[in-house]
């Protein structure tokens, strides 16, 4: 356990209690030090935290634009690479190529969104912080990183907010 970064984890079984906790730490200006756990994404918690919109949307936008451009250019250039006319239709047929371009827009968009999630949510990483498996069932939690010297104080604060138990790193 000593390898883990130092901090305290409060386990809540009621959402409203959790929210009280969040409010308290925010009022103390400790957002950056705080990490909230919840079995499901809940609006109430969203509101309590109210964080800026996720940057994932930029990934999606970029991916979509890239796919669209690639779709048109690739089809056009490969058609002109070796001209094989069919049915008297234009060699570079924008209307026909729009279908390809559209599909590629969606494909690239999706792939980059995935990338966005992985990067921002820091997936595929080993968990260092202390953790409670009940978070994926019905418990909520607040983790506050602080030096061992403040453990007692933090534990007190958390229990006041309604944490049923508090773990130490």
């Amino acid at each position: 356990m000593s390898a883990n970064p130092e901090g305290v984890l409060g386990v809540f079984s009621h959402m409203d209690a959790l929210i009280d906790g969040i409010k308290h730490f925010k009022s103390k200006g400790m957002e950056s030090k705080m990490k909230v756990y919840s079995p499901a994404p809940l609006h109430a918690i969203d509101d309590a935290l109210d964080e800026p919109p996720s940057p994932v949307r930029l990934f999606t936008l970029f991916g979509g634009m890239l796919g669209c451009t690639f779709g048109y250019t690739f089809t056009a250039f490969s058609s002109m690479d070796w001209i094989l006319p069919t049915s008297g239709k234009p060699i570079v047929a924008p209307i026909a190529f729009t279908v390809i371009a559209f599909e590629l827009t969606v494909l690239f968009g999706a792939i980059f969104t995935l990338l966005g999630i992985v990067v921002n949510a820091r997936l595929f990483r080993k968990r260092k912080l202390i953790y409670d498996e009940r978070f994926t069932e019905d418990k909520f939690g607040i983790y506050v990183s602080c030096p061992p010297t403040e453990y007692d104080a933090m534990e007190k604060v958390l229990s006041e907010c309604g944490a049923e138990e508090v773990k130490r790193a």
């Binding site: 094989l84 006319p85 069919t86 008297g88 060699i91 570079v92």
Partner: protein
């Protein structure tokens, strides 16, 4: 071009030296099948550069052939352009000769009934002993009709070896025509009937476009007769109760009752002679006397046509350039002589003798054969007078009437059959000697006076064998040493030929020139002949109305199989019958009414459909055949085509029923087995039978498609179009020229004048700064004149031969897997009740559309539009989605459902210039692109563009009617451009779907005052 051909033939000739030596020499040539490098190449033979050898075959009736030989193998048979009769074209049947050359039926080694398979040494010994023991005894020879050197050697053999006779036999005999000519004009000849220059042709049933006379020449002349000249064109009227392909191309079909043809001829003769202005008084009197009993009324009564019709007919006969053709020999029983006499007299009256009935060029009687010989032979056999019988080039066991008992008689002697392929007769003979095929043998075929064709081997024999005549010569030389200077038949033929036709100063050169030319052809002009006194007053006394009432069976001559001598050819079996569209079978053709009476129900399955077996009893014979319902036949009449019903061919080709079984076994006055309309008894066995066709019978061949269950409302399709003679040349302006405008302003089809969405190819910006432009040198186009096309199907077979099309067999055809690149669409016009419908034939193959529906849908770019206007098909790139075939509006793309196999050696006839397609690949017509390539290369070597007429597609080359033109549409002087810009030109379906096809059709000119698609 011409001098190229000469070079080829010269080389060919050089090549011959070698080949001839091997073929001629005493022992059989050792043909080694293993591949080996050409360390010492055969003179004049370059790999993949074809040599063309001029020759002929007995089967083709002495047609002039050019055999394409590649690397020592005959791969394709084409027409000899210098031959006056077939003039470079061929019928389907004549082209199929290569299939019998490589067919599975070929005999490979000698066999004996008791010995089984024999070695050549044993056989030679056996023959030697047979000839020695029977020397001086009755050695008979039975051959097909032979002439010239071949006849000489056979007769010489029989006379020198013993006291036997040389008998010739062929299923079809022209003896009645000979006898008639002898009576009427005192000439013992078969006249040459020619339609050249005729204005009005009345055929009393002769299928002169399929089987009767010189079919190729007739097609050509018939087409010429139909072409409109200053608003006029010739007229053709056919008298027959079952519409043949010939009838289908007539302007009117008169369904006369079977057996009434002679009465009609006589009535017409009487009428015409009475009103003739050119006939001499004496002749008028004679004819009046002869035709005393005839009358339009009785004839009209007997034939069911009515006197009025006949009277009208007689009037139209009395025009310039009229010609009357007799009935088919098979529908004349007994009255053959009087019928032909009447027809000859008619022509005499019409002044056609000399012009169209040519006796100067007539067939000498010795070139023909009657059936007396075979009857006597059978008698002698039964009397045990025959000690040894040699059979060659004929198959009596198949075509002789059972009543004659040939098989039983044959068992009473020792018989040796010389044959290249197995058949019914070889099965009976004591010894069977495998001989070389006509294309591997020397020989001579003489038809008309002045038409003497040479037969030369075009390749070393496929199997170790010699030709029959070599055995004869060997035997003669053995019997009486130095009686014959020549060692083999080649030398004999050469001597005989040069002596008979006067070698002149340099016989060697003359011989070579004759070989090069394929013989010598000089048809003399005809001359009018006076009536002879041989006509007794009772000439026509025997003519009476046929007693047949109720159901009648008529045997019709088959254009595909004829007398059954070439039946072992898959191409012919898979070529749909011209009128019914049936493949791989023989069947009883009957009308809906007849079928209903019999309770025959036709269930349209896939292609073809299910019908029932019907037992037909006639002339003491009984046979079970599938019934096939067609609209082009009168009620109470069933027909059966000849040539099928073999028992002795290789398994695949023994199919259907043998029509010759219905022959009378007694001879008529002219000495041939009469076969004619028999009153028949039909019994429905209710036994299900599956037929195969290329189309949906009764549905797909409707010119006007009715909506199912909805009377009255119907769909007429922009495919086959006709134009009335009246309006030819009167429709303002040139409508055929460009691609874009609607061809026919008066068309009843929806005319789409909307914008063409696609720019001219060359306007496409991507072509900027590229040398890629379209149609700059060539735009290949093909054009069909539907006014010339008869729908004979010769082009279909030519395509099979040129493009390596597989024969898929009956079951696959029934499933709709036929592989023919060009098909003959046969449509039936809507007929008033009780009338026979008009038949329209239209060749349909890839139209090489400029806006081809098939191209843009191919995901892998396996098909695209070439710069020369072809719709290219890249087999190697094809993945086989079949989308192109679905989207093809003309349904001319063919998919390889399996990797089709060529049975026997038939793959030896494959064209190396065309790849054989793998399973899963789409294929189709590309205007014989390999020939285009070849022609362009030759032109490039000469530093110029290919000229018009240098490149022929296979279908164009074969078409006897000259209905196909192919060439460069960019060349405004080309023949194809002339047709494409003709006022009659239209492009199929283009007015509707704007595919801009590269194929133009010229509307058929009809006499009716109709004007629709």
């Amino acid at each position: 071009m011409a001098n190229k051909i000469d070079r080829r033939d010269f080389l060919a000739l050089m090549g011959m030296g070698g080949a001839a030596a091997t073929v001629g020499c005493g022992s059989a040539p050792n043909f080694d099948e293993t591949w080996k490098p050409w360390v010492s190449p055969v003179a004049g033979s370059v790999p993949y550069v074809p040599n063309y050898y001029a020759t002929t075959t007995h089967g083709s009736g002495g047609a002039g052939l050019w055999v394409k030989v590649l690397s020592g193998r005959a791969v394709k048979v084409e027409g000899n352009p210098n031959h006056p009769i077939n003039a470079g074209t061929l019928t389907a049947r004549q082209q199929a000769v290569v299939q019998s050359l490589y067919g599975t039926g070929r005999l490979r080694e000698p066999t004996g009934k008791s010995e089984g398979t024999m070695t050549w040494r044993d056989l030679d010994a056996k023959l030697k002993s047979l000839f020695e023991t029977n020397k001086g005894k009755n050695i008979y020879c039975l051959t097909g009709p032979v002439s010239g050197a071949e006849a000489e050697i056979w007769t010489r053999f029989t006379s020198e070896m013993g006291t036997g006779r040389h008998v010739t036999y062929a299923p079809y005999s022209e003896s009645d025509l000979v006898l008639a000519s002898e009576k009427v004009f005192g000439v013992q000849k078969v006249p040459r009937f020619s339609l050249a220059g005729a204005k009005f042709v009345l055929s009393l049933g002769a299928q002169f476009l399929e089987t009767w006379g010189d079919v190729t020449a007739n097609n050509r002349d018939h087409a010429d007769m139909r072409t409109v000249d200053h608003g006029h064109r010739g007229v053709h009227i056919q008298v027959e109760a079952r519409v043949s392909l010939t009838g289908a191309n007539a302007d009117e079909v008169l369904p006369a009752k079977p057996g009434s043809k002679t009465l009609i001829a006589l009535a017409l003769l009487k009428e015409v002679a009475a009103h003739s202005t050119t006939l001499s008084v004496a002749d008028k009197a004679t004819i009046a006397g002869l035709t005393a009993n005839a009358s339009l009324e009785s004839a009209g009564e007997a034939s069911g046509l009515g006197a009025e019709k006949l009277k009208h007919l007689a009037e139209s006969l009395l025009t310039e350039g009229a010609l009357v053709l007799p009935a088919e020999r098979l529908e004349l029983s007994g009255d053959g002589v009087s019928h032909h006499a009447a027809v000859l007299l008619l022509n005499k009256v019409l002044g056609a003798v000399g012009k169209h009935v040519n006796y100067a060029a007539g067939k000498p009687v010795e070139h023909t054969s009657d059936h007396r010989g075979i009857v006597d032979l059978v008698k002698d056999l039964n009397d045990g007078k025959v000690d040894l019988l040699l059979i060659h080039g004929t198959n009596p066991a198949y075509s002789l009437p059972d009543g004659l008992g040939f098989a039983q008689a044959l068992a009473k002697t020792t018989s040796v059959a010389f044959a290249d392929s197995q058949d019914e007769t070889t099965a009976l003979a004591n010894y069977t000697v495998a001989t070389s095929h006509d294309l591997e043998s020397w020989g001579e075929v003489n038809t008309y006076t002045g038409m003497d064709m040479l037969m030369q081997p075009v390749m070393t024999p496929r199997w170790i064998c010699r030709q029959a005549h070599d055995y004869l010569i060997e035997a003669l030389r053995a019997a009486t040493p130095d009686s014959l200077p020549q060692e083999n038949f080649r030398d004999y033929l050469k001597t005989s030929w040069t002596t008979r036709f006067g070698g002149g100063a340099d016989p060697e050169k003359f011989w070579r020139d004759s070989l090069k030319a394929g013989g010598q052809f000089a048809l003399p002009e005809g001359v009018d002949l006076p009536l002879s006194g041989n006509m007794g007053a009772d000439l026509f006394a025997s003519v009476t109305e046929s007693k047949n009432t109720g159901m009648t069976l008529v045997v019709v001559d088959s254009a595909r199989f004829g007398d059954g001598s070439g039946t072992d050819a898959g191409w012919l079996h898979e070529l749909p019958d011209a009128m019914s569209g049936v493949v791989w079978d023989s069947w009883l053709e009957m009308s809906h009414q007849t079928a209903n009476d019999l309770g025959v129900h036709y269930k349209s399955g896939l292609r073809g459909g299910h019908t029932q077996m019907v037992q037909v009893k006639a002339n003491g014979q009984s046979m079970e055949l599938p019934a096939f319902i067609v609209e082009t036949i009168s009620d109470n009449l069933v027909t059966l085509a000849t040539g099928q019903g073999h028992k002795g061919l290789s398994k695949l080709y023994n199919r259907g029923g043998n029509a010759f079984a219905f022959l009378n076994s007694d001879l008529d006055e002219s000495g041939q087995f009469g076969i004619g309309p028999h009153s028949a008894e039909l019994v429905n066995t209710h036994q299900d039978y599956r037929m195969a066709t290329f189309h949906l019978p009764g549905v797909g061949d409707k010119m006007v498609t009715p909506l199912s269950m909805l009377e009255g409302s119907e769909v007429r399709r922009d495919l086959f179009q006709t134009i009335s003679l009246a309006s030819v040349g009167h429709e303002g302006g040139d409508h055929g020229g460009g691609h874009h405008e609607v061809m026919d302003p008066d068309s009843t089809f929806p005319i789409h004048v909307d914008k063409d969405w696609y720019p001219e190819r060359t306007d496409d910006p991507v072509y900027k700064d590229r040398d890629e432009t379209f149609y700059d040198d060539y735009k290949w186009e093909l054009s069909f004149d539907l006014n010339r096309c008869t729908g004979c199907g010769s082009c279909v077979t030519a395509c099979y031969a040129e493009n390596n099309l597989p024969v898929v067999g009956k079951d696959q055809v029934a499933k709709g897997r036929e592989m023919s690149w060009v098909r003959i669409n046969r449509y039936l016009e809507k007929a008033e009740h009780g009338q026979l419908p008009k038949v329209r034939a239209m060749p349909m193959m890839c139209q090489q559309c400029a806006s081809a529906p098939c191209e843009s849908v191919c995901p892998s770019l396996a098909t695209y539009h070439t710069k020369e206007g072809l719709n290219a098909m890249v087999y190697n790139r094809c993945v086989g989605t079949r989308y192109c075939a679905n989207n093809c509006s003309y349904k001319v793309r063919r998919f390889n459902w399996f990797s089709f196999e060529w049975e026997g050696d038939l793959n030896w006839a494959l064209n190396p210039a065309v790849s054989v397609r793998q399973m899963g690949v789409m294929e189709k017509c590309t205007f014989c692109v390999q020939r285009i390539r070849d022609g362009k290369d030759k032109a490039r070597d000469l530093g110029r563009k290919a000229n018009d007429g240098e490149i022929h597609t296979a279908c164009q080359q074969a078409c006897p009617a000259g209905a196909v033109r192919f060439g460069n549409h960019e060349d405004k002087n080309s023949k194809v451009y002339e047709w494409a810009s003709d006022a009659r030109a239209y492009r199929a379906l283009d007015s509707h779907i704007k595919t801009k096809p590269g194929v133009t059709y010229l509307k058929r000119v009809v006499l009716e005052d109709e004007h629709h698609g």
